[in-house]
Every structure is written in C-alpha cells, then in structure tokens.
C-alpha cells in the first residue's frame, strides 16, 4: 500500500491541509462581493489576481488594489480524470480571461471541454476555488 503524501511522511512538497499536510496561507484569488480581487498597475493598467506583489510585473509601476469582473472568455479548458487533492474525477478546469482583467484558473460547474472563447461567469467559491458556469444566450447554465 503506497503511503499517502503528507501522512506520516514529511516531504519538501507542502501538500496542504486538504490532503493531510499542515495548513498553508491561501494564495488563490479571492472573491469579494461577486468580483475577483487582485491588483492593477496604476501606470500600464496590467491586472494581476494576486495581492502583496511589490510592483507591476509588466512595467514595474506601482500597483493598487483592484476588483475584476466575474465574467470573461475561456482561453482553454480540460476535464481532469484523476483524483487531485480533495477533488474526485471528473472535474473541469479552465483558464478564464476576465473582461478587462487577468487570466485565472477556474473550476467548471459542468465538467466539459468548452469552445475557445466560451463566455463564463464566476458564480462563487467551492472549497476556496473559483467556480464558473457557461453563459449561453444570456442564460447561465
């Protein structure tokens, strides 16, 4: 029987509390009042779905806290068919280019491969992960 990572076998990898390791600070993008939290450059307007960064990674300008729209277009998507952490297959993932915002990784409410550019809306957090649904003809599915 293979040893579960994080159970009785400390490693250099931090697996996180979800799979039996010690808790770590959450670095995932936040969702505040239905908007994605992050920072935006005050010089070039580059958006980043992270906080605590020292300057704009695109132009070195100063950054300020920002909120981003919860809607955007799918850059790519996949359906994962192996268990990962607490996730059980199948589960869908997409890179979502938020409207006038950064690219964020989202879980899909329906595990399916989407057409490039499919319109998505982030509807909430699932165990801390951004979760999105497709918008078809104005109707969220």
């Amino acid at each position: 029987m293979a040893t579960e990572l994080g159970v009785g076998r400390p490693t250099k990898r931090r697996p996180g509390a979800a799979v039996g390791g010690l808790p770590v600070a959450d670095s995932r993008p936040s969702l505040v009042d239905g908007q994605v939290g992050g920072v935006r450059c005050t010089t070039c307007r580059y958006p980043v779905a992270q906080t605590g960064i020292p300057w704009c990674p695109a132009c070195y300008g100063p950054v300020e806290p920002a909120r981003f729209a919860a809607t955007g277009a799918a850059w790519s998507s996949t359906v994962v068919q192996i268990p990962v952490g607490t996730r059980r297959p199948p589960f869908g993932l997409a890179y979502l280019d938020l409207d006038d915002g950064p690219r964020v990784l989202v879980h899909l409410a329906e595990p399916t491969v989407l057409p490039l550019g499919a319109r998505l809306r982030i509807t909430g957090l699932d165990d801390g992960d951004l979760t999105a649904v497709t918008i078809e003809k104005g109707v969220e599915k």
Binding site: A2, L5, K12, R13, D26, T78, T86, R103, L105, V113
Partner: protein, 377 residues
Amino acid sequence: MNPMLWGVGTSDYGLQPGTRVEVLCWTAIREAVDDAGITPAEIDAIIVGSVFGPPGVATRVQRGLGLPGVPMWTVENACASGTSAYHEAVQAVRQGRFGCVLVLGVDQMSTLFSGAIVPEATDPEGAASLPLPGLYALQAQRYVQEFGVTPEQLAAVAVKNKRNGLDNPRAQLRKAAPTVEEVLASRMIAEPLTFLQCCPTSDGAGAVIVGGERGNPADLRIEASAMVSGALWDHRSQDVWGYASVARAAEQAYAQAGRTPGEIDVLEVHDAFTIGEILTLEALGLAPRGKGAELAPSGHTARDGAQPVNPSGGLLSRGHPLGGTGTAQIAEIACQLRGRAGDRQVARHRVGLVETMGGGAAGMDGNACVVTILSVP
C-alpha cells in the same frame, strides 16, 4: 577556457524505492568518472540539481566520494534542475573558476508520490488542484482547437518515443511499444491527454563531468549553454504556457553557437507529456507555430528521420526523476555524438541539442529552461 564535456554516466531509470538515493548517485558518478578518464581527485567542484532531494543529498553523496572541502552547491529549477546544475558548471569552467566540475542530477520519486506529483499547496493553481498533466492538457486543448491538432498527432509522439525506448536498456518502460490506437485507448488523464501520453515518475541519477580543453578526442565541444528563468505568462500574448521560456533559451543558445535549427542533427527534449515535445520543437524553431504536431507523424523526428528527437525514448520511456532528467538527456546526446548508442544510434551525429523545461508556478511561462548545444570537435 572553452568548456568541454569529458564524461557522462547514469543509473538505471525506473521505480527503485528499495535502492538508496546515494547508490543511484554513486552508480552514475562512477560511470562518469571512468568515462572521463579522470581520478576523483581531479574534481574541484560539485554542483547538484535536485527538486525533492532529500535535503542534504549532496553531502550524503560526498560521503562515498572522499572529496572533502571542494566547493559544492545544490540548485533547484523544477524539472530543469539537472541541466541548470550543468549550466552553472559550464559557465564556471568558461570563466576559469574551476577546471573540472562534477554535475549530478538526481531525484527519487517513488518514495514521495504514489502516482502523479501532488500539486504544491502554496501555489495559487496548485492549491486549486491543477495537476501537471492538467496544465499541459490546457495547452494541448488550446492547440487542438486553435490549430486543429488531432489526437492521432499527439499520440504519434508517444508511439515514436516509446518505440525508441525499447532499445534503451536503462529506460523505465521497455515493454512493447503501443500503437496510436492503443495510446488513444489508454485511460484519459486530462482531456485530451491519455495515460500513455504522460511520462512516468521515476527514480534515477545522471552525472556529467565538465572541464576545459585537454586534447582528448572523445571530449565533446559545448558550443552553447543558455539558462533562463520563467517570465510573466502575459495573458495578452498569443503564447501558450511554456512556449516563451523555451524560445528565450533557444534564441540565446543558437546565438552562442552561431547555428540555426536546421543544423542540429539530434535532439533530446522535454517530452513530459506529448504536447510538451510538440510545443518545444516549435519553440526550438524546428517547425512554425501550430505545425509542430506534424513532425512525429511525418517521420521527421523519427530515429531514422532528418532530425531525430528523443532517440533515448525521452521522458515518456525513460521516466522522469525531475533532477535526474536533464543529466540523462545530456548523457544520451553524448552517447549519440560519440557514435556509441548501439541500436539507438542515429545516422547523422555531429551536432546535438538538449532542452529541459521546468514548470508549475502559476502565472509564469515556466520555472526555468536550459538549452545546450554540443558537437564533435
């Protein structure tokens, strides 16, 4: 001092949880020292590339070497750790800092993970349960939809490399090579990547001896070595993840060597997943963007093709002990350039290229990439 490759050595690659990490390393080092024709006392620095160690592995390996007091350090650049260690050795010799450097790449994955690598919880995307095959699958899916890359084209990379690996006595997977149909029928890991399109995690070590010119006809010229860190994966660019880091390293390496992609006879590249080889060969300039998937089906990258890629079987056959991968790639190219690859030998073998790309840090176009070009003097 012009850097030369003096010798290479490796352990077997495969699941070896019952073998001590140090023994994997000592096996590789002994072979490299013999290959270089040196005595251990000639080694005046040691650089180790490893991701998961264990911490202190470099010193524990030293226990068996009897080289107290030489400068030694360990570098971690994800999957490019072994070649990053090699790059530092090449630069040190070039600058005259050392005359003979032992490079060691090692990882023992089977004592850490029972399957796919568990994502790093401190990473925003690792914390969101994005596994490495999922990251590559997102690039593959983009290519499927943007450029019409077919499942059969993806599978052809696995068929080619696993067939090559049958002739590599140190590869992890040495059963019959699958057909395209069998690759596609294997269980889905992350759409469109099936099980047989993912490299196995592995245990292994590779060693490389780098020194200056010494008039030994078996030494290989290190024409170029370029190492770049990851940069922002800017969502405004047209690049899929990983492409730009490889392209940056490749541009530097070709400039150093004064060569063009068409002059490369044989390559070992980072095929952790089938799409990885395709994207890498585009970034290395062997095919235009969106056309890399045609290289394996056309036979261009076959062992008897115009530019053989991964004649060793690549990561898809040899297995992937992160830090141990880059040094194994260099060992294979050295073997090919010297005409000692036996059943794996390619016909034209004067100029070889190694590319290793590590990734997994969210928002970056890679963690690091190393490209080196070697030739027969």
